[in-house]
Structures are given as C-alpha cells and as structure tokens.
C-alpha cells in the first residue's frame, strides 16, 4: 500500500528541538508533591498570603480528586505524580534585554528561532524555561498605550488588583484534577491586559520550553481584553527528547469583556514523552469574540478541550483545531461551547490526522442553556487516516435545553485515498507531490488562520514529513 510510506511527522524532531542543555538550575524542588513543596514555591516567589492559601487549598483539591475515569486510562494511570520535579528555576530573574539572558538558555531559544521571530513580526515575546519566564519584552508603543504583557509572577506582583479580581474566575481549582494541580504549583505563564478600546494589531508571543528531565511545567496564563479591545496571542511549545516522561499541565483563562476580541493560537509540538493535560477556557461577554486556534502535533498524550462560555448577548466563539498523531501518540483534542446568553453563536472546525499506530480524536461539548433563544452553533469534524493501524474517535456531546436554536454537527472519516492519489498522479504529479497536495488541502483551513511566519513554518514542517516517502 503506497500510503504506508508517508513519513512520520516530526521525524527530525530530535535534531530540531530534541537537544537538551545540561541541567543548570539555581533551584530544583525535590521530586514529589506535598504542602512543603507548595509552601516553598510560594515563599520563593514572595507571594501575598491569599495566593499562598489558594495554592494550599488547591493542593487539597488535587489530592482528593480522582483522575478522570474517561479518556486514555492506560496512559493516565501511568503518570507517577511522585516522580516529578514540580519547580525548577534556572535563572535569578526574568529580564527584558536579550543580552542579559544566561548564555545556555539564550542558546536554546536562538536555536528555536525566538529572537529572530521577535525582530520580524512580534509586538512582544515571553520565553519560559522550565518553571520560570526568563525573558520578556514588549514594544514601547504598546506599553505607552497601557498594554500589559508580562510573566504571570510579575503580573501578580505589579497588578495585584486586576489579577486577584480575575484569578481562577474562569477555571476554579476544583474544575478538574489537573487544574487543581496547576493551581497548587503554578509558575510562570503570561499575564496580558489590554485597556479599553486598544487594538493590538501585531501578535504577542510566548514560547514554552521544558529542559529538565522528569519536570512538570505548570504555567498559568491570564488574558483580559477590556471593552472593545483586541489582542492575538501565540504560544509555541517544545521539549528535549528524554527517555522519561514530563508533565505539562497549564491553565489558561481568557476574559473578553463586552465588544472585545481575543485570538489565542497554540502550536503545541512537545516531544513524544510529554503528557500535555491542559485546561483552557474563555469568558466571552456581550458582543465579544473569542477564537482558539489550536494545533497539536507533539506530546505522548494530549487532553485539551478549549472552551468558550458565551455569557453575553451576541457573543461569538470559534475553535479551529488540528491534531496529528503518529505511532505512540494519542491526541485527545476537542472543544466546548457553552451558550449561556441569547443570540450567541459558535463554530468548531476540527481536523485530525492519524498515521500508523497513532490515535487522534475529537471530544466536544455543545450546551445551549434554557432561555437562550437565537443561538447558532455548528461543529465540523474531519479525520484523515493513513495506515491500517490508525485510529480516530469522535465523541461529540450536544445538550440543548432551548428550542429556538440551530445546532449542527457533522463528522467525516476517510483514508488518504488511493483514488485521489491515482487521479493526481494521472495528472503528472509524483506520488510524493500527490500526497503532499492532499494533506496540504486537508490542513489548509487551519494554516490559513496562522500569521504568515507560522503558516510558512507549518507548511514547511508538513512538506518535510511528506517528502521522500517513496524510495
């Protein structure tokens, strides 16, 4: 079968992202989780009492809560929470001049192309290395307009009122076991506040890197777009290829106040030994728009269902996601839309590629609450299978308690078809070119939504993986 010759995506991961710096840390918590660890992290960060208490309460919640008993039980059950470093600090403090970043860390991010990307097209950058943000910068003109873009720890220190007001208001610690874990041991992440009416035209970016073995990264991101404001935030993630597993359990909260617009783009390309168990949720108030653009290429197991609570009239939510699973990967991705106000609308487009023994899927929830007339929602799932051992799952849930609605869900599953290949080859394309064209066409709606530089990178990545697949 010709289609079996398509190469693994990320075949060159080891060369591109898989390098590891020697672990050079100022402070590394011993393995395992206890109130002592939490106390240590909080004291280390000189946090206010309310945050320290929040952490301790969250730890109790984490310890009391069972693991989800849905999803990939085998992989979830293999997580050994006692074998993880919950806090690893590699630098003294976060800096805003690239030259001040320690040499070893700078080398990492230079290899990943961060400074170059910043110069080219970003309005601001945050780089997180293990538990702490090591570098951040923001364009002066945005700062002058009152835009705040900083790491979460600095945000807590310098904008305590705003942080305290919105903190955990979208994702309380008892939401799920991993949100509780993050709430207890969070470190780093981004804090963004965009003042009323300010439109940040150029994307802000964060780059997350796990370097230490058996490390847990628990960044916490909070983005608030005030009335009529708009912002686009992009994050990328990679890690070295170690033989032991790492855990990434982020919490991301977005608040789009009336008329605001937030787009949050993720290109998740963790190495295949990272558990990526992330809670992402947004509140969209009246006339606000929230969009999650979510690409999952890496990790061993991803469980991520970006959610939007449409809380005000005419709010609109969109999730556009793509997942790629090769052998040894399970992408349990999806989306949730909660229509809690009249005349709200939402759209979910989910595309997945399962190759060889890879497993990718869509797990979703659409809820329309009572007395919310005029809601519209549509879900489209498309799964592409390459190889007879590939697996795809679709688990959509629709709960509709209002009669004046339009709810549509569609899913299709197909293999990378011999007929399509034959057709394209009969038009003079090589087998490689034909496969690439089919896969490119499949992911095109996703790539179209990326900033140009990311789109180019994404296409190049796919092209690399597809070329030379016939000997």
């Amino acid at each position: 079968m010709t289609t079996e010759r398509v190469r693994e995506l990320n075949l060159d991961y080891e060369q591109k992202y898989g390098f590891a710096d020697p672990e050079a840390f100022l402070h590394k918590s011993p393995k395992g989780l206890s109130h002592e660890t939490v106390e240590m992290i909080s004291r280390f960060k000189a946090e206010p009492d309310w945050m320290r208490e929040f952490r301790h309460r969250a730890l109790d919640t984490f310890l009391a809560k069972p693991l989800p008993h849905w999803g990939n039980q085998e992989l979830l059950g293999a997580i050994d929470f006692a074998d993880i470093h919950y806090y690893v600090r590699s630098t003294e403090e976060s800096v805003n001049d690239w030259d001040d970043v320690p040499e070893n860390i700078k080398r990492t991010f230079t290899r990943l192309g961060i400074p170059a990307a910043e110069q080219k097209f970003l309005a601001g950058v945050t780089a997180q290395y293990d538990s702490e943000v090591v570098y951040h910068s923001i364009r002066k003109d945005l700062e002058a307009m009152g835009v705040v873009f900083t790491d979460m720890d600095s945000g807590l220190a310098k904008h305590a009122d705003v942080v305290r007001r919105y903190w955990a208001s979208v994702i309380p610690p008892d939401d799920n076991k991993f949100a509780a874990l993050n709430s207890a041991v969070w470190s780093g992440g981004s804090f963004i506040y965009v003042p009323r009416g300010v439109k940040v035209e150029i994307p802000l970016q964060a780059y997350f890197r796990i370097n230490t073995q058996n490390m847990g990264q628990f960044e916490r991101t909070l983005i608030i777009a005030d009335e009529g404001a708009s912002v686009h935030y992009i994050e990328g993630c990679t890690a070295p290829v170690y033989t032991t597993n790492s855990l990434h359990a982020a919490v991301v909260e977005l608040i789009a106040l009336p008329g605001a617009r937030i787009r949050y783009t993720t290109i998740q390309n963790w190495s295949n030994n990272v558990y990526n168990l992330v809670t992402k949720r947004a509140h969209a108030h009246r006339d606000a728009v929230v969009e999650w653009v979510d690409g999952n290429l890496g990790s061993k197991l991803t469980m991520k269902y970006p959610a939007i609570y449409l809380l005000g009239e005419r709010a609109h939510g969109e999730v556009l996601s793509i997942a790629y699973a090769g052998t040894g990967q399970h992408q349990d991705a999806g989306a949730k839309m909660i229509h809690a106000a009249p005349n709200t609308s939402s759209r979910i487009i989910s595309k997945s590629i399962s190759k060889d023994a890879g497993r990718a899927g869509y797990r979703g929830m659409i809820k329309v609450q009572r007395d919310c007339p005029g809601c519209r929602t549509s879900v489209e799932c498309d799964a592409l299978l390459i190889g007879s051992a590939a697996r795809t799952d679709t688990y959509p849930t629709m709960e509709i308690a209002e009669n004046d609605v339009r709810v549509e869900h569609e899913a299709r599953v197909s293999k990378l078809g011999d007929e399509q290949l034959f057709y394209l080859q009969s038009r003079g394309l090589s087998a490689d070119q034909a496969r690439l064209m089919i896969v490119n066409g499949f992911i095109e709606p996703f790539v179209r939504e990326l900033p140009m530089e990311y789109a180019v990178e994404m296409n190049r990545l796919i092209e690399l993986e597809m070329e030379g697949s016939v000997g």
Partner: protein
C-alpha cells in the same frame, strides 16, 4: 513516596440501591418452579455470577449520561411474571400472539414454513444460540435479565425458508409489576423473517426490563420492528442486539412513544463479511416524558455496511436523549458506516441531547455522521399557512414530513400500522400546541 492518595476518606455511600443478587438455591427453585431444564438453569446461574460481579452502569459513560440506572432497578428479583395483563388485539392479522400465560398462536402459513415458536428453552436447540447477542457479561442489565427473566420466547425459522407475513410478538406490561421478557430470534442461513415486537400497557409502578437477541445466519434477512407504546407512568429498559453473519441483512425499525421513563438500547454487530444493517427510529416525547435511545453499530468484519437514521420530535417539557456509537474494528477493512440524528424541538421547554460517537480503528473505511437540533422552521409554517392551512395542520404536515424517512424504511406489512400510531400521536400534538 507512593502516589498521592485521596486525603479524605471515601464518602459513606448510601445504601446500595441494587436488588440482592439471587442465590443459587433461589435460582434453582425459581427455574424448577417454571419447569425449565438443565440448560436454562445453567444459563441463569452463569448470569447470576456475572450479576454479582457487575457494577451499576457508570454515569460518566456517555451511554448512561442522561438516565439514572437506579430508576430502572426492580425491587426484587425472581418474581413470577404478573398475569393480570390486558390483551390489546392488534389491528392487523396476527401470526403469533404472546403474553404471560398465553399460548403462542401460529397462522397456517407460519406453520407451513416450518417456523417454531416456543417458550424459551422449551426447544433444546435454544442453548446453542442463547446469549450470543446479549451475553450476561455485557453489563449490569444484561446480567439482570439473564438471571431473572420471567417471560421467555424463542422463534426459529429454518434454513432457506421465508415467511411473508410479519410475526407479531405482543408483550403487554402488567400494571404495577416487574416483567423481564427475553426473546431469542434465530433466522437460519438464507431464511427471511419479519418480527414485530410490541410493548404496551403497564402504568404507574410498572417496570419492564427486556432483552431481545436476534441471530441472522449467512445471507439471512431479518426485519425487526420494535414498538414501544407503554401507558403513562410505566418505566422500562429494553436491549435489542442483532448478530449478523456473512452477507446477512438486518433492518431494525423503532417507534418509541410511551412510558414516563424509557431507555432503549438498540444495536447490531456486523460479524460476517458483506453484512448490512440499517437502524431507523422515531421518538415523539411529550409532556414530561424522558425517552432515551442508544444505537450501536459494531463492525467486526470487512466489507460491511451500516446506516442509522434516528429522529426525535420533542414537545412540551419532554426530553429526548440520543447516544449512538459506530465502532469499526481493526479487522474490518472496506467497511462503510453512516449515522444521522435529527431533533425537532416543538415545545419551548423541550430538551434534546445527542451524542453521536465514532471509534474507527482502521483506515480502509468510509464513515460519516451528522446531528442537528432545531425548532420548526417558521418559513415552512408560513409557506403552508399561505396555502390556506390552519397552523396546527401546517405543524402536523411538517412533523409528519420530518419522520417520513424513517417510516419509509419500516418493514412492509407493518408500515401502515406504525404510520397510524405516529399519526395518532401527532394528532395529540396538534391539540397540545
């Protein structure tokens, strides 16, 4: 350090709502009293052992997300089937009539084609097929029925024989008692049969927990119509599974209208190459009814084909829940599977939940599903009214059109009757709106 354990002691659980698992002695006595032989007793004991191990269904699983299994539990097991049933003579000529305490009645045509209809396990061959489609190990309710069924019927049509008339199985629910019916329908190689299984009667305090096994041999053709028109107040759970051998063809048509709370679990396993299955259903919950339906198509052999068309039109404050799973196993290349679930919300307080699931474990497939939830299109009403129809007639026409595709797939010989049932219910809707 060990993995963190729960810091709090497990909450004290309220008294286990499950009925006590019957003892071997109790089952032996029950079986003997019913005059059953060794094969039946052995199956009951096997099911009781499975029941002792089975947990109540997990509400986290989508199959049970919308219906509390505790509401479907009998008070005690091993009660004989109540005899106080009312026989509701069917509208068109019955071929066989079954109810607790009734003797099956066959038409001349049925007798001539060699069909056998007998109490379950009266026919010694039953053991050969029993439990293949609904094994006691499949889950709590499967085990419950397997251990304690109190009304059993086996139907078997020999190889290559055909019965044109539908075979009619009437299962009236007793008022206020527990009925656990069990049907075994065997259609041998290249034979064909249509069975209408009709549940009706009952009322407040009544509970039916049924299981129907359908085994279709190679190249056999089976049409099964399941009619659920229990009285108000009735509660019930019905499991229907067909097991299809090579090139077998199955059509399962469900019309589900009655009861306060009903959960119907309908499905087919496409186990032989070239098997085809079509499941269609319509449910019309009204007032405060809670009607929950599940469909399963499991493809375990290659070149198999399946389709599902399930429609719900929900009035008043009623609730419809639909969950469906299509699973294509690794060793089932060349399979095609399709699924549609459409929901029409007629009442402002009506509620529809839908979870159409796919699990596809191989790439050589063609598979799609769709689900929609929407009210009646006001433009359609407007169009019909502008042609001079009163509003209720317009609404009737639209809902009738909505369920038409399902009716079209129901077996010949029962379509008119199902149509009449639906029409009668829609007439009620007309008044209610």
């Amino acid at each position: 350090m060990a993995k963190p354990m729960s810091a709090t002691a497990p909450a004290v659980s309220p008294a286990d709502p499950r009925p006590a698992v019957p003892t071997s002695a109790g089952i032996t006595e029950f079986s003997r009293h019913r005059g059953e032989g060794a094969a039946a007793l052995q199956q009951r004991l096997h099911a009781a052992a499975a029941l002792a191990r089975a947990e109540l269904p997990d509400r986290v699983r989508h199959l049970w997300r919308y219906t509390d299994p505790v509401r479907l539990l009998p008070r005690r097991l091993l009660a004989p089937a109540p005899q106080d049933v009312v026989l509701d003579a069917p509208a068109v000529g019955p071929v066989v009539l079954v109810a607790p305490g009734q003797t099956p009645r066959l038409s001349a045509a049925a007798t001539a084609c060699g069909i056998t209809v007998a109490p379950l396990f009266a026919d010694a061959d039953a053991a050969e097929f029993y439990g293949q489609a609904v094994p006691a190990t499949a889950g709590y309710f499967e085990a419950l029925n397997g251990a304690a069924w109190n009304l059993g019927l086996s139907v078997r049509i020999p190889r290559g024989r055909h019965l044109a008339e539908p075979l009619r199985v009437l299962i009236p629910a007793p008022a206020g008692g527990d009925l656990l019916p069990r049907l075994l329908i065997v259609v041998e190689e290249s034979a064909s049969l249509t069975v209408v299984e009709e549940h009706y009667g009952g009322g407040a305090g009544g509970l039916v927990l049924g299981a129907t096994e359908i085994l279709a041999g190679a190249d056999a053709e089976v049409r099964h119509a399941l009619v659920q028109r229990w009285a108000d107040g009735q509660v019930g759970h019905l499991i229907q599974r067909a097991h299809l051998a090579r090139d077998a063809r199955f059509v399962g048509a469900t019309v589900s209208l009655g009861g306060d709370l009903a959960k119907l679990d309908l499905g087919a396993v496409l186990a032989g190459e070239g098997a085809r299955s079509e499941i269609v259903g319509v449910t019309l919950p009204r007032q405060r009814q809670h009607l929950d339906h599940h469909t399963l198509h499991r493809h375990t052999a290659g070149r198999t084909w399946s389709n599902i068309d399930f429609k719900a039109a929900v009035s008043d404050r009623a609730r419809s829940a639909y969950t469906g799973l299509i699973r294509i196993e690794k060793n089932a290349p060349g399979s095609e599977a399709y699924q549609e679930n459409r929901n029409l919300l007629l009442g402002e307080q009506a509620r529809a939940d839908t979870i159409p699931e796919l699990e596809i474990l191989t790439d050589e497939v063609s598979c799609s599903h769709g689900a929609t939830v929407a009210p009646v299109d006001p433009e359609q009403i407007h169009y019909l009214r502008s042609r001079g129809l009163p509003p209720e007639a317009a609404l009737y026409l639209i809902v009738r059109g909505f369920v038409e595709s399902v009716l079209a797939q129901t077996p010949d010989g029962v379509r008119e009757e199902l149509d009449a049932l639906i029409t009668a219910r829609l007439a009620g809707l007309r008044r209610a709106e």
